[in-house]
């Protein structure tokens, strides 16, 4: 059987500044990040013939392709479900490059969510089904929808706010080491966390990601070509998407077990095609739009058993030197919330050995996309 295992590699990454407010447009930011990534790889824009993005991306591939001076484009795709699609863009490009549909693929994310509108405020697009079953009752925002699962999870398994704090703290501590992070010089304490304002109880301010302006990109080529590029190749070892049976998006309240989300489905596919397992992962970048997504994902991807995700965070397990150093650029909680794409580029930095919170000799990295929505994940290795 043909396999994508190590057939392609990330040859270049790029990003703009991250800030609550940037003056340039999303289109401009997208082009900047893509051109930086191509320069990082040492590949001319005219060689790009593949694009992949994910929904809630306002800059279309036609705009990007003509702006950067791409050649004839022979592959393009857009993955659904917003933040669940970040890692899937890599999978689509890997499949395209491995099968000869394209030779140089670019994936990107550009957002102005720090200064722009938030989708939950647009009631006209929010109300058609399935929102008819939730929005009228004041379940308005993703924080409310995930808070519902978080309270049930805490009730069922004895997870505590201290466990959620452990997640927020690990991300913040890594951001404090990363000059590009929005929370670079802003330490977090347990007292700050426990006394912060509520957003949707049981979730407080620090359980929520940062709304951010910024853009990122990465370049994918065949493994063979990557070895001739400017940077050390980071191989796409395994990729997966996950939409579980009877799943219903972020308001996944109606299947048999709402606490086993898309991570479980993606994980089965991801590990099935990998030469190693969860015990062999040196560093992880786990989608952290909200802190409870991390314990749920730790369980889904097999780092611990069902209901053990809270306890897993104890004893500094997610910190540098711990069992599973997490979100080493600061993640969505403390570096920037750019729909998870910064988790991908941070994974690449770890395997290149250039992270600001470098895990010594990191050779394997799990990166995940949005949990709660149909998701995707990728295993990177060097």
């Amino acid at each position: 059987m043909a396999t994508l295992k190590d057939a392609t590699a990330i040859a270049g990454i790029g990003q703009t500044a991250f800030a609550r407010r940037l003056p340039e447009s999303e289109k401009t930011l997208a082009c900047r990040a893509i051109l930086v990534a191509l320069d990082d790889a040492g590949i001319a824009p005219s060689e790009v013939d593949g694009f992949a993005s994910y929904t809630m991306e306002e800059t279309d591939e036609v705009e990007v392709a003509k702006a950067i001076g791409a050649g004839d484009v022979t592959f393009f795709s857009k993955v659904g479900y917003g933040g669940g699609g970040s890692c899937a863009t890599l999978g689509h490009l890997a499949a395209a490059v491995a099968t000869g549909q394209a030779s140089v693929g670019v994936a990107w994310r550009s957002r102005k969510r720090g200064s722009g509108p938030r989708p939950w405020k647009n009631t006209a697009v929010q109300l058609p089904t399935p929102a008819q079953w939730t929005r009228p009752y004041g379940l308005l925002r993703p924080a409310d929808e995930i808070g519902m699962l978080a309270r049930r999870y805490m009730h069922a398994y004895g997870a505590t706010r201290d466990h959620l704090f452990n997640v927020a703290l690990a991300c913040r501590n890594r951001a404090n080491q990363n000059p590009d992070a929005i929370m670079y010089d802003r330490p977090l304490t347990r007292e700050m966390y426990m006394t912060s304002r509520w957003i949707s109880e049981p979730l407080c301010l620090f359980d929520n990601c940062l709304e951010t302006d910024g853009a990122l990109a990465c370049v994918i080529v065949s493994a063979k070509r990557a070895r001739d590029c400017r940077q050390k190749p980071v191989y796409l070892h395994s990729v997966a998407q996950g939409l579980p049976a009877q799943h219903h998006g972020m308001v996944n309240y109606w299947n048999d077990d709402p606490l086993t989300g898309p991570a479980w489905t993606a994980a089965r596919q991801l590990w099935k095609h990998a030469d190693f397992g969860p015990d062999d992962i040196h560093v992880a970048q786990i989608y952290d739009a909200f802190t409870p997504l991390v314990p749920l994902s730790l369980e889904g991807y097999g780092f611990c058993g069902r209901g053990e995700g809270g306890a897993f965070t104890e004893g500094g397990a997610l910190e540098t030197g711990g069992r599973l150093p997490l979100n080493t650029g600061g993640g969505g909680l403390s570096e920037a919330y750019v729909h998870g794409f910064n988790l991908i580029t941070e994974g690449v930095k770890q395997l290149r050995g250039t992270s600001t919170a470098q895990v010594p000799d990191a050779a394997t990295c799990l990166v995940t996309a949005g949990e709660g929505v149909p998701t995707s994940a990728v295993l990177l290795r060097n």
């Binding site: 405020k121 009631t123 929010q126 109300l127 058609p128 089904t129 399935p130 929102a131 008819q132 079953w133 939730t134 929005r135 009228p136 009752y137 004041g138 379940l139 308005l140 925002r141 924080a143 409310d144 808070g147 519902m148 699962l149 309270r151 049930r152 009730h155 304002r197 509520w198 957003i199 949707s200 109880e201 049981p202 979730l203 009877q246 219903h248 308001v251 309240y253 109606w254 299947n255 048999d256």
Partner: protein
């Protein structure tokens, strides 16, 4: 203006319309497969049965009794109609008749009371609740299903 007049209203789709029509009559009904060999309940409503593939459906009356499966207390920033009543509760209720059917709603002191009319300290997972029906929107355009704490 009544607090219920400015809430978001369901934008009803073809599959969901019967739920809201029954609610307007004070009935809590859930879609079920009408194939005699199957009969499985399903929610949210959809065109066909995920268990047997039948396109025949019926709307089965529920007792209106449930238990709180989980709840959140949203705080601002929120849309204005909700910010006025915040912090309020939003709950997920599992039906006693069909524990895997869970309905979002609010626990209120009476059908048309504000969303914050019950002290959140009185809420707990597993608490028994009973459905009530609240006309909302201009001229009571839609009837929302809400919940009273039992006893």
């Amino acid at each position: 203006m009544d607090v219920n007049d400015s809430l978001l209203l369901p934008v009803v789709d073809e599959d969901g319309a019967p739920f809201w029509e029954y609610a307007a009559r004070g009935e809590l009904r859930v879609q079920a497969c009408a194939s005699p060999a199957c009969g499985e309940l399903r929610f949210p409503p959809r065109p066909c049965c995920p268990h047997c593939g039948s396109f025949d459906s019926e709307w089965r009356a529920m007792s209106g009794r449930g238990r709180i499966w989980s709840y959140v207390i949203p705080h601002p920033p929120l849309l204005p109609a909700y910010a006025e009543q915040a912090p309020y509760n939003a709950v997920l209720v599992e039906l006693v008749d069909a524990p895997r059917i869970r309905l979002a709603g609010n626990v209120v002191a009476s059908a048309d009371a504000p969303l914050n009319s019950v002290d959140p300290a009185r809420l707990r997972i597993g608490a028994p609740v009973r459905a009530v029906f609240c006309p909302a929107g201009p001229r009571g355009a839609v009837t929302l299903v809400r919940w009273l704490l039992e006893r």
